[in-house]
Amino acid sequence: MKKHAWLIGLAVALAVTILAPLASSFPDGLERVAEDHAFLDRAQDAPFQIIPDYALPGISHEALSTILAGMVGVVIVFALTYAVAWLLRRRHNVNA
Protein backbone atom coordinates (compact mmCIF):
# COMPACT_ATOMS: atom_id res chain seq x y z
CA MET A 1 0.00 0.00 0.00
CA LYS A 2 1.15 3.51 -0.68
CA LYS A 3 2.26 5.30 2.41
CA HIS A 4 -0.78 6.11 4.53
CA ALA A 5 -3.13 4.71 1.90
CA TRP A 6 -4.24 2.32 4.65
CA LEU A 7 -5.85 5.33 6.34
CA ILE A 8 -8.32 5.48 3.46
CA GLY A 9 -9.05 1.77 3.88
CA LEU A 10 -9.59 2.21 7.60
CA ALA A 11 -11.90 5.18 6.92
CA VAL A 12 -13.93 3.02 4.53
CA ALA A 13 -14.25 0.28 7.19
CA LEU A 14 -15.36 2.88 9.75
CA ALA A 15 -17.86 4.28 7.25
CA VAL A 16 -19.34 0.82 6.66
CA THR A 17 -20.38 0.68 10.33
CA ILE A 18 -22.68 3.66 9.70
CA LEU A 19 -24.85 1.25 7.70
CA ALA A 20 -25.03 -1.25 10.57
CA PRO A 21 -28.30 0.08 12.08
CA LEU A 22 -29.95 -0.78 8.74
CA ALA A 23 -28.93 -4.45 9.03
CA SER A 24 -31.63 -7.10 9.11
CA SER A 25 -32.50 -8.19 12.64
CA PHE A 26 -33.77 -11.59 11.49
CA PRO A 27 -31.89 -14.54 13.04
CA ASP A 28 -28.94 -15.72 10.96
CA GLY A 29 -28.74 -19.11 9.27
CA LEU A 30 -27.45 -21.03 12.29
CA GLU A 31 -29.84 -19.30 14.72
CA ARG A 32 -32.76 -20.06 12.41
CA VAL A 33 -31.81 -23.75 12.21
CA ALA A 34 -31.34 -23.88 16.00
CA GLU A 35 -34.76 -22.33 16.51
CA ASP A 36 -36.54 -24.56 13.97
CA HIS A 37 -34.95 -27.71 15.37
CA ALA A 38 -35.29 -26.85 19.04
CA PHE A 39 -31.70 -26.48 20.19
CA LEU A 40 -31.50 -22.69 20.44
CA ASP A 41 -32.12 -22.85 24.21
CA ARG A 42 -28.87 -24.79 24.66
CA ALA A 43 -26.95 -21.58 24.00
CA GLN A 44 -25.21 -20.32 27.11
CA ASP A 45 -24.57 -16.71 27.99
CA ALA A 46 -20.96 -15.59 27.94
CA PRO A 47 -19.20 -15.56 31.34
CA PHE A 48 -18.51 -11.84 30.85
CA GLN A 49 -19.91 -9.16 28.58
CA ILE A 50 -18.02 -6.23 27.15
CA ILE A 51 -19.96 -4.98 24.11
CA PRO A 52 -22.80 -7.53 23.78
CA ASP A 53 -25.17 -7.45 20.78
CA TYR A 54 -23.00 -4.89 18.96
CA ALA A 55 -24.37 -2.07 21.08
CA LEU A 56 -21.99 0.13 23.03
CA PRO A 57 -23.23 0.12 26.65
CA GLY A 58 -24.31 3.42 28.18
CA ILE A 59 -25.61 4.95 24.95
CA SER A 60 -29.37 5.03 24.83
CA HIS A 61 -29.64 6.03 21.17
CA GLU A 62 -29.92 2.60 19.55
CA ALA A 63 -28.46 3.39 16.11
CA LEU A 64 -25.62 5.47 17.54
CA SER A 65 -24.82 2.74 20.03
CA THR A 66 -24.54 0.19 17.20
CA ILE A 67 -22.41 2.46 15.02
CA LEU A 68 -20.02 3.30 17.87
CA ALA A 69 -19.73 -0.39 18.82
CA GLY A 70 -18.86 -1.12 15.20
CA MET A 71 -16.26 1.66 15.10
CA VAL A 72 -14.65 0.45 18.32
CA GLY A 73 -14.51 -3.04 16.82
CA VAL A 74 -13.01 -1.81 13.55
CA VAL A 75 -10.22 -0.02 15.38
CA ILE A 76 -9.49 -3.00 17.66
CA VAL A 77 -9.52 -5.52 14.80
CA PHE A 78 -7.26 -3.29 12.71
CA ALA A 79 -4.83 -2.75 15.59
CA LEU A 80 -4.68 -6.44 16.54
CA THR A 81 -4.25 -7.71 13.00
CA TYR A 82 -1.72 -5.04 12.08
CA ALA A 83 0.27 -5.79 15.24
CA VAL A 84 0.29 -9.55 14.58
CA ALA A 85 1.35 -9.09 10.94
CA TRP A 86 4.00 -6.55 11.95
CA LEU A 87 5.43 -8.88 14.61
CA LEU A 88 5.45 -11.87 12.24
CA ARG A 89 7.23 -9.79 9.62
CA ARG A 90 9.80 -8.50 12.10
CA ARG A 91 10.47 -11.94 13.52
CA HIS A 92 10.97 -13.34 10.05
CA ASN A 93 13.31 -10.52 9.04
CA VAL A 94 15.33 -10.93 12.22
CA ASN A 95 15.65 -14.66 11.60
CA ALA A 96 16.48 -14.28 7.94
Binding site: M1, S24, D36, I51, V74, V84, A85
Partner: protein
Amino acid sequence: MHIPDGFLSTATSAVAWVGAAGGVGYSINRVKTELTERKVPLIGVTAAFIFAAQMLNFPVAGGTSGHLLGGALAMILLGPFAGSIAITAVLIIQALIFQDGGLLALGANVLNMAVVGVFSAWLVYRGLLRVLGSRKWSTTIAAFAASWASVVLASLAASVELALSGTSPWGVVLPAMGSVHMIIGVGEGLITVGVVSFLRATRPDLLALQATPIRGGVS
Protein backbone atom coordinates in the same frame (compact mmCIF):
# COMPACT_ATOMS: atom_id res chain seq x y z
CA MET B 1 -22.83 -18.84 11.76
CA HIS B 2 -20.97 -18.05 14.95
CA ILE B 3 -21.57 -21.02 17.24
CA PRO B 4 -22.36 -19.97 20.83
CA ASP B 5 -21.19 -21.95 23.84
CA GLY B 6 -23.55 -24.76 24.77
CA PHE B 7 -24.09 -26.10 21.26
CA LEU B 8 -20.96 -28.26 21.15
CA SER B 9 -19.80 -31.11 23.37
CA THR B 10 -16.48 -30.75 25.17
CA ALA B 11 -14.90 -33.45 23.01
CA THR B 12 -16.04 -31.82 19.77
CA SER B 13 -14.86 -28.39 20.97
CA ALA B 14 -11.47 -29.82 21.87
CA VAL B 15 -11.01 -31.53 18.49
CA ALA B 16 -12.07 -28.31 16.76
CA TRP B 17 -9.50 -26.33 18.77
CA VAL B 18 -6.80 -28.73 17.59
CA GLY B 19 -7.93 -28.37 13.98
CA ALA B 20 -8.08 -24.59 14.25
CA ALA B 21 -4.63 -24.40 15.87
CA GLY B 22 -3.21 -26.62 13.14
CA GLY B 23 -4.72 -24.56 10.33
CA VAL B 24 -3.83 -21.17 11.76
CA GLY B 25 -0.40 -22.39 12.85
CA TYR B 26 0.29 -23.54 9.32
CA SER B 27 -0.87 -20.17 7.98
CA ILE B 28 1.41 -18.31 10.39
CA ASN B 29 4.29 -20.47 9.29
CA ARG B 30 3.60 -19.93 5.60
CA VAL B 31 2.69 -16.24 5.73
CA LYS B 32 6.06 -15.06 6.98
CA THR B 33 7.77 -15.19 3.61
CA GLU B 34 5.05 -13.11 1.97
CA LEU B 35 4.82 -10.29 4.51
CA THR B 36 6.10 -7.33 2.57
CA GLU B 37 6.04 -3.87 4.09
CA ARG B 38 3.08 -3.00 1.87
CA LYS B 39 1.12 -6.06 2.89
CA VAL B 40 1.17 -5.56 6.67
CA PRO B 41 -1.29 -2.61 6.72
CA LEU B 42 -3.41 -4.25 4.01
CA ILE B 43 -3.97 -7.24 6.30
CA GLY B 44 -5.15 -4.91 9.07
CA VAL B 45 -7.45 -2.95 6.77
CA THR B 46 -8.93 -6.12 5.23
CA ALA B 47 -9.70 -7.60 8.66
CA ALA B 48 -11.22 -4.30 9.85
CA PHE B 49 -13.37 -4.03 6.72
CA ILE B 50 -14.60 -7.63 7.05
CA PHE B 51 -15.47 -7.05 10.71
CA ALA B 52 -17.57 -4.02 9.73
CA ALA B 53 -19.17 -5.80 6.77
CA GLN B 54 -20.10 -8.77 8.99
CA MET B 55 -22.40 -6.43 10.93
CA LEU B 56 -24.53 -5.86 7.84
CA ASN B 57 -27.01 -8.72 7.97
CA PHE B 58 -29.07 -8.99 4.80
CA PRO B 59 -32.46 -10.70 4.79
CA VAL B 60 -32.83 -13.98 2.92
CA ALA B 61 -35.87 -16.24 2.58
CA GLY B 62 -38.29 -16.92 5.42
CA GLY B 63 -37.41 -14.44 8.17
CA THR B 64 -33.74 -15.41 8.14
CA SER B 65 -30.71 -13.24 7.57
CA GLY B 66 -27.15 -13.80 6.52
CA HIS B 67 -24.00 -11.74 6.59
CA LEU B 68 -20.65 -11.73 4.87
CA LEU B 69 -18.13 -14.20 6.28
CA GLY B 70 -15.33 -12.71 4.22
CA GLY B 71 -13.19 -15.83 3.84
CA ALA B 72 -13.11 -15.64 0.05
CA LEU B 73 -12.65 -11.86 0.07
CA ALA B 74 -9.71 -12.11 2.47
CA MET B 75 -8.21 -14.93 0.39
CA ILE B 76 -8.48 -12.92 -2.85
CA LEU B 77 -6.99 -9.77 -1.31
CA LEU B 78 -4.33 -11.35 0.88
CA GLY B 79 -3.78 -14.93 -0.25
CA PRO B 80 -4.99 -17.87 1.87
CA PHE B 81 -2.42 -17.69 4.67
CA ALA B 82 -2.72 -14.01 5.55
CA GLY B 83 -6.46 -14.25 4.78
CA SER B 84 -6.89 -17.03 7.30
CA ILE B 85 -5.04 -14.99 9.94
CA ALA B 86 -7.21 -11.92 9.21
CA ILE B 87 -10.47 -13.88 9.66
CA THR B 88 -9.11 -15.48 12.85
CA ALA B 89 -8.42 -12.01 14.27
CA VAL B 90 -11.98 -10.94 13.47
CA LEU B 91 -13.41 -14.04 15.18
CA ILE B 92 -11.24 -13.59 18.28
CA ILE B 93 -12.37 -9.99 18.75
CA GLN B 94 -16.01 -10.95 18.12
CA ALA B 95 -15.84 -13.66 20.78
CA LEU B 96 -13.85 -11.71 23.39
CA ILE B 97 -15.31 -8.21 23.05
CA PHE B 98 -18.68 -8.62 21.36
CA GLN B 99 -19.85 -11.94 22.81
CA ASP B 100 -20.59 -13.09 19.25
CA GLY B 101 -19.63 -16.76 19.14
CA GLY B 102 -18.71 -18.69 22.28
CA LEU B 103 -15.32 -18.84 23.99
CA LEU B 104 -15.14 -22.64 24.11
CA ALA B 105 -16.67 -22.67 20.63
CA LEU B 106 -14.04 -20.23 19.31
CA GLY B 107 -11.90 -23.12 18.09
CA ALA B 108 -14.83 -24.46 16.06
CA ASN B 109 -15.67 -21.02 14.69
CA VAL B 110 -12.06 -20.44 13.64
CA LEU B 111 -11.91 -23.92 12.10
CA ASN B 112 -15.16 -23.38 10.17
CA MET B 113 -14.74 -19.81 8.96
CA ALA B 114 -10.99 -19.03 9.02
CA VAL B 115 -9.68 -22.47 7.98
CA VAL B 116 -12.42 -24.33 6.08
CA GLY B 117 -13.95 -21.08 4.77
CA VAL B 118 -10.68 -19.56 3.56
CA PHE B 119 -8.94 -22.66 2.21
CA SER B 120 -12.02 -24.03 0.43
CA ALA B 121 -12.39 -20.62 -1.24
CA TRP B 122 -8.74 -20.81 -2.25
CA LEU B 123 -9.07 -24.28 -3.80
CA VAL B 124 -12.19 -23.32 -5.76
CA TYR B 125 -10.70 -20.00 -6.86
CA ARG B 126 -7.43 -21.51 -8.03
CA GLY B 127 -9.12 -24.46 -9.67
CA LEU B 128 -11.56 -22.29 -11.60
CA LEU B 129 -8.91 -19.79 -12.69
CA ARG B 130 -6.91 -22.69 -14.08
CA VAL B 131 -9.92 -24.06 -15.96
CA LEU B 132 -11.22 -20.71 -17.19
CA GLY B 133 -7.86 -19.22 -18.08
CA SER B 134 -7.33 -15.47 -18.23
CA ARG B 135 -10.61 -14.49 -19.81
CA LYS B 136 -12.14 -11.16 -18.95
CA TRP B 137 -14.83 -12.62 -16.68
CA SER B 138 -12.92 -15.57 -15.25
CA THR B 139 -11.87 -13.86 -12.00
CA THR B 140 -15.45 -12.68 -11.44
CA ILE B 141 -16.88 -16.18 -11.86
CA ALA B 142 -14.11 -17.69 -9.76
CA ALA B 143 -14.62 -15.11 -7.00
CA PHE B 144 -18.37 -15.72 -6.92
CA ALA B 145 -18.04 -19.50 -6.89
CA ALA B 146 -15.29 -19.43 -4.26
CA SER B 147 -17.42 -17.21 -2.00
CA TRP B 148 -20.50 -19.40 -2.37
CA ALA B 149 -18.57 -22.62 -1.77
CA SER B 150 -16.76 -21.21 1.27
CA VAL B 151 -20.03 -20.32 3.01
CA VAL B 152 -21.70 -23.65 2.22
CA LEU B 153 -18.65 -25.68 3.27
CA ALA B 154 -18.18 -23.67 6.47
CA SER B 155 -21.85 -24.30 7.32
CA LEU B 156 -21.40 -28.02 6.66
CA ALA B 157 -18.36 -28.06 8.95
CA ALA B 158 -20.52 -26.43 11.64
CA SER B 159 -23.24 -29.03 10.99
CA VAL B 160 -20.78 -31.88 11.43
CA GLU B 161 -19.70 -30.41 14.78
CA LEU B 162 -23.32 -30.01 15.90
CA ALA B 163 -24.13 -33.59 14.89
CA LEU B 164 -21.00 -35.01 16.55
CA SER B 165 -22.00 -33.14 19.70
CA GLY B 166 -25.42 -34.80 19.67
CA THR B 167 -27.06 -31.37 19.50
CA SER B 168 -29.02 -32.17 16.36
CA PRO B 169 -29.26 -35.38 14.27
CA TRP B 170 -27.11 -35.63 11.13
CA GLY B 171 -30.14 -36.01 8.87
CA VAL B 172 -31.67 -32.82 10.26
CA VAL B 173 -28.81 -30.41 10.73
CA LEU B 174 -26.85 -31.09 7.52
CA PRO B 175 -29.70 -30.38 5.07
CA ALA B 176 -31.07 -27.52 7.19
CA MET B 177 -27.74 -25.72 7.50
CA GLY B 178 -26.69 -26.54 3.94
CA SER B 179 -29.87 -25.29 2.31
CA VAL B 180 -30.08 -21.95 4.13
CA HIS B 181 -26.39 -21.28 3.51
CA MET B 182 -26.75 -22.06 -0.18
CA ILE B 183 -28.95 -18.95 -0.24
CA ILE B 184 -26.74 -16.89 2.06
CA GLY B 185 -23.75 -17.89 -0.10
CA VAL B 186 -25.28 -16.01 -3.04
CA GLY B 187 -25.15 -12.82 -0.94
CA GLU B 188 -21.56 -13.62 -0.02
CA GLY B 189 -20.72 -14.03 -3.71
CA LEU B 190 -22.37 -10.77 -4.73
CA ILE B 191 -20.64 -8.75 -1.99
CA THR B 192 -17.24 -10.32 -2.68
CA VAL B 193 -17.53 -9.74 -6.44
CA GLY B 194 -18.67 -6.15 -5.79
CA VAL B 195 -15.73 -5.34 -3.53
CA VAL B 196 -13.17 -7.08 -5.75
CA SER B 197 -14.50 -5.37 -8.89
CA PHE B 198 -14.41 -1.99 -7.17
CA LEU B 199 -10.82 -2.56 -6.08
CA ARG B 200 -9.83 -3.81 -9.52
CA ALA B 201 -11.14 -0.57 -10.99
CA THR B 202 -9.62 1.73 -8.38
CA ARG B 203 -6.58 -0.03 -6.90
CA PRO B 204 -5.43 -2.84 -9.21
CA ASP B 205 -2.03 -2.74 -7.48
CA LEU B 206 -3.59 -4.16 -4.31
CA LEU B 207 -4.92 -7.21 -6.13
CA ALA B 208 -1.55 -7.75 -7.75
CA LEU B 209 0.06 -8.12 -4.31
CA GLN B 210 -1.16 -11.67 -3.87
CA ALA B 211 -0.94 -12.73 -7.52
CA THR B 212 2.19 -14.78 -7.00
CA PRO B 213 1.09 -16.87 -3.99
CA ILE B 214 -2.27 -17.66 -5.59
CA ARG B 215 -1.09 -18.59 -9.07
CA GLY B 216 2.21 -19.99 -7.90
CA GLY B 217 0.48 -22.60 -5.84
CA VAL B 218 1.62 -24.80 -3.02
CA SER B 219 3.04 -28.21 -3.63
